[in-house]
């Protein structure tokens, strides 16, 4: 009789625990830009997350994963910090994600550390970000990581003299520094490094200067949006006819290619995500995005970052249940390798930053559309900045 009681109690305890666990909701707070000129970022994050949840369900072992979105409105560190506080203290989220801009990610580093909050950076690409909190991991890229391969490719492919023209702000300086360093180390010559003010509308005088120097190629880094389109269009009308090639990284994103037109054909760039990359995850992501959000939806680096960020969070909940601590989650993520729509990726065991393929791609026409096509893969590239700046 006593034994039966004990068994019943034990069973009750177990069922009770399981019952309690299955009823739990895991909240994930996503801080990103959903309004203003950069609203596309937040939209791409959100759509990729919805696709991920459609493919993998909204529950993990019975625990509901609920995503709460907060709009930081653009590069606004104070607002990002306030939103992180609200999500952690009031909404009691278990994970944080998002962060389009580096200043916003840096602004939440201290709170994240204090709350031991596992936080996935979906974009913010300045190399130093993951150093600022032991609870940061990153699923995007760093600027040095994607810039070094194009400089190496140029040096190996008959391009000897280059002018660089970058937008006059911190990410532009990173791109310029790593392009120049890599290209010179490979025996190339950098004739001049021009920094173009962010507010520039007419790029022709800068390019007229480039034309006089007669380089083999021009390397550019733009901030996205109108200035980037201006940079490429002016190259197409002034420098391309003179036989000066264009080298870049994110500037030939598929979403911007129609604005550049046929002039973009043949432009070579290096980047960690290519829309046409041939793997089943990418095909499924693209198919679901267009099925759910319209036929003109195109996945981009933001989609890949958010999609893989969700993968990390789902894996942590699957392993540790709904009450995963920050240390457990980060411990699990360190060294974790899995397949992403962009190809294989790994979270660096030491730096918590991403290790991933970087692709050399060329703009080509397929079925009447301009797309990037990969022609070379540089496998599993680490962030060079971290190797050069050990902790």
């Amino acid at each position: 009789m006593k034994q039966a009681w004990a068994a019943l109690c034990a069973a009750g305890l177990i069922f009770g625990l399981v019952g309690a666990a299955s009823a739990e909701t895991v909240k994930v707070g996503v801080i990103a830009t959903f309004s203003g000129p950069f609203a596309r970022w937040g939209e791409q994050f959100q759509q990729a997350i919805k696709v991920y949840q459609k493919q993998h369900g909204t529950t993990v072992d019975g625990n509901t994963i609920e995503v709460i979105y907060r709009d930081d409105g653009g590069p606004d560190p104070a607002r990002a910090k306030q939103l992180a506080e609200e999500l952690i203290l009031r909404e009691k989220v278990q994970f944080l994600g998002g962060f389009v801009f580096t200043p916003n990610a840096l602004a939440v580093a201290d709170i994240v550390t204090e709350a031991k909050m596992p936080t996935v950076i979906f974009n913010a690409a300045t190399a130093v970000v993951t150093r600022k909190s032991p609870y940061f991991v990153r699923t995007s890229q760093t600027i040095p990581q994607v810039t070094v391969p194009i400089a190496q490719w140029a040096a190996r492919n008959g391009i000897k003299r280059v002018v660089t023209a970058v937008s006059d702000y911190a990410p532009g300086f990173d791109a310029e520094a790593y392009f120049v360093k890599t290209f010179q180390a490979a025996g190339g010559e950098v004739l001049e490094s021009i920094r173009i003010p962010l507010a520039t509308t007419d790029f022709s005088p800068f390019y007229e200067r480039v034309l006089q120097e007669k380089p083999d190629a021009l390397f550019i880094f733009g901030p996205g949006g109108p200035p980037t389109v201006g940079m490429i269009n002016t190259w197409a009308s002034r420098l391309k006819p003179a036989g000066i090639r264009l080298l870049c990284t994110a500037e030939t994103q598929e979403i911007d290619l129609p604005k550049i037109g046929p002039a973009a054909l043949g432009v070579v760039s290096s980047f960690h995500y290519t829309e046409t990359v041939d793997n089943p995850l990418n095909k499924a992501l693209w198919a679901d995005l267009t099925a759910m959000f319209g036929k003109n939806t195109v996945p981009d680096l933001a989609s890949a970052g958010a999609y893989d960020g969700m993968e990390l969070i789902y894996r942590a909940v699957a392993k540790f249940g709904p009450r995963a601590t920050g240390d457990q989650a980060i411990g699990l993520w360190r060294g974790m390798a899995f397949d992403s729509p962009r190809g294989p990726i790994e979270i660096d065991e030491k730096t918590r930053d991403i290790i991933e393929n970087v692709y050399l791609r060329k703009v080509e026409e397929r079925e009447g559309k301009l797309v990037n096509i990969n022609f070379q893969t540089i496998p599993m590239v680490r962030d060079p900045w971290k190797d050069e700046h050990p902790e």
């Binding site: 203003g36 000129p37 950069f38 609203a39 596309r40 006059d168 021009i194 920094r195 173009i196 003010p197 507010a199 520039t200 509308t201 007419d202 022709s204 005088p205 800068f206 007229e208 200067r209 006089q212 949006g225 109108p226 389109v229 201006g230 269009n233 009308s237 002034r238 006819p241 979403i255 911007d256 129609p258 604005k259 037109g261």
Partner: protein
């Protein structure tokens, strides 16, 4: 021959500045309304033209239709929003027109998204022309021609026509103008509509250099205001001169010392305004 190229580039850029801000010279310069919604009207024009071109209308017909349509929208806006503001002072005008700009930005964002709206140039303007010492983009030569044509047209209309005389009279002293039988209300509606139409025309024609997107209205607002301010409020000839001067200084600076380019444009604005606080050619009544 590089000097000639810089000069030509500067001239073309100056003409763009003139074309996109000439509408503001009319509404803010001549009519003295602090019209911060100028860029919003320009951008509506651009979006309308882009939609028309997308539907198969030719670029020039689309430019004409967009200009006309925005002129009509401008007339409605003048009756509904601007007329009550004429006597309310500059702060009320700035707030109201800035608010209007946000409404337009939000409307375009919800309708078209935050991305760039492409307005492709016609084939005739997309190519290059041989101008003797080098080939040069046809589009830029077209801008120079359009800018000169507009300046001439405005000069005839405002300085040399009875309409211009009435307008200047009505702005300087509306009560006296009414007393001598000028229909000031109608004159203002027509002129404001004209200013909006010019804004739209600039938005369409300049779209290849200033790409259309919902934040166009704010992104280039400083440029518009600088041209009108440096030129001298109330004088479109001053705006013309200011636009060309600033275009040449900016272009020359970027070419000759790119490291200082960020400062040169605004440095020139500062210097010009320090030397001539009322602008290059202030209106007579403003001095």
């Amino acid at each position: 021959m590089i000097d000639a190229t810089i000069l030509l580039d500067g001239l073309a850029y100056g003409m763009v500045l003139f074309i996109i801000s000439v509408g503001l010279t009319v509404t803010m310069g001549l009519m003295r309304v602090v019209n911060l919604a100028h860029g919003a009207f320009a951008m509506i024009g651009g979006y309308v033209a882009a939609m028309l071109v997308g539907a198969g209308v030719s670029f020039f017909a689309a430019a004409g239709l967009a200009t006309l349509l925005v002129g009509m929208i401008g007339a409605v806006a003048e009756l509904a929003v601007y007329r009550p503001l004429y006597r309310k002072g500059e702060l009320a005008q700035a707030l109201m027109t800035f608010g209007l700009t946000f409404v337009v930005i939000a409307s375009l964002t919800s309708g078209f998204g935050t991305g760039i709206k492409t307005l492709p140039l016609p084939a005739a303007l997309g190519g290059v022309v041989d101008i003797g010492f080098r080939t040069y983009p046809a589009y830029r030569l077209f801008l120079v021609a359009v800018g000169l044509g507009l300046a001439l047209l405005l000069w005839l209309l405002i300085d040399r026509s009875a309409y211009g005389a009435r307008l200047r009279a009505a702005v300087d002293n509306p009560r006296m103008a009414r007393a001598v039988g000028i229909d000031v209300n109608l004159l203002f509606t027509v002129t404001f509509a004209g200013g909006c139409a010019l804004a739209a025309f600039g938005g369409v024609i300049g779209a290849a250099l200033l790409p259309l997107e919902p934040f166009y209205a704010l992104r280039y607002l400083v440029l518009f205001l600088v041209v009108v301010g440096v030129g001298g409020i109330g004088n479109f000839k001053g705006s013309f001169l200011a636009a060309i001067l600033l275009g040449v200084i900016d272009t020359g600076g970027k070419y000759l010392m790119p490291q200082a380019a960020a400062y040169l444009f605004y440095g020139a604005v500062l210097a010009l305004l320090l030397l001539r606080p009322n602008g290059l050619m202030p209106a007579k009544s403003a001095t």
